[in-house]
């Protein structure tokens, strides 16, 4: 069943991605000020939003673990965080390449960029922490605490373009601005690409959580063999 779900999410995501790439490169016009380069937004923004969404879902699962002690919540949270870190990396790298052309520099320590980097560092630390602790309940408890702490930074990343003066452009999506910042056809493609990336992300999380449950099965069989 899980295998079929993975294939379904991956195939629908891939078809949608292909359709979006066609629109991005062959249908939509260049942006007036940025020319060709603005197209990076179609991966930069969805990767950021899918990553942040993942951290919030992982935080919810971590709270559920702390409340109920179910290790399945912990392992699903770990799977989601790992995939979210990959998307956050995509976000930072594509943003840096965009900045090189638009600002003439690869990086600047403004609030948005710095908090996004800190976010990746916190959740990379989370993944390292999980490798360092063998005892499952201690690992789950500390991981849950770190996820909740990390999500404070995710809120700062999200709101920093409203709270502080930044080099980073302000919000463009209608949901945050009330409209008028981005052409509707461009925004439509951006939202569709967000959906495509979300579907691919869900497929990756399913594969990763499958591996987590296999690892748990191996642990329990090892204990059986040694009893």
């Amino acid at each position: 069943m899980r295998e079929k779900l993975v294939i379904a999410f991956a195939v629908i995501g891939a078809i949608l991605l292909a359709y979006n790439l066609y629109n991005i490169f062959l249908v939509l016009p260049d942006e007036v000020a940025q020319g060709y380069m603005y197209r990076i937004i179609y991966f930069h923004v969805p990767a950021a939003i899918v990553g942040m969404l993942g951290y919030f879902v992982a935080m919810t699962l971590s709270v559920l673990y702390l409340a109920g002690g179910d290790l399945r919540h912990d392992s699903l949270a770990a799977s989601i965080v790992e995939v979210s870190v990959v998307f956050s990396l995509v976000n930072i790298v594509t943003g840096s390449i965009w900045a090189r052309v638009q600002w003439g520099i690869w990086w600047t320590w403004d609030y948005r960029l710095t908090s996004a980097l800190v976010c990746v560092l916190i959740f990379s630390g989370y993944l390292m922490l999980r490798r360092a602790i063998d005892e499952p309940t201690q690992r789950a408890r500390l991981s849950a605490a770190l996820t909740i702490f990390g999500c404070v930074d995710v809120v700062i990343v999200w709101k920093s373009i409203e709270w502080f003066r930044n080099n980073h452009p302000g919000p463009v999506l209608s949901i945050r601005t009330g409209g008028g910042k981005m052409d509707p056809a461009m925004e439509h493609t951006l939202l569709l690409n967000m959906l495509a990336i979300l579907l691919v992300g869900v497929a990756l999380v399913l594969v990763r959580s499958w591996q987590e449950s296999t690892a748990r099965e191996i642990d329990s069989l090892r204990r059986t063999a040694h009893v």
Partner: protein
């Protein structure tokens, strides 16, 4: 400017896909290693129970 603009956009898309691809490959390798480990442990348990 336009050629440079296009080149950097290409780098951006390439980098995005490369990061995802490297992760997918690492996921596949980890999956293969876990499947083998599971088989080994199942075999070990079966042998232990026989003895």
């Amino acid at each position: 400017m336009d050629a440079r603009n296009f080149t950097f956009m290409f780098y951006g898309f390439l980098a995005a896909w490369l990061i995802v691809l490297v992760y997918v490959v690492s996921l596949a390798r980890r999956g293969a290693r876990l499947s083998k480990e599971l088989e080994d442990v199942k075999h070990l348990v079966a042998t232990t129970h026989k003895n």
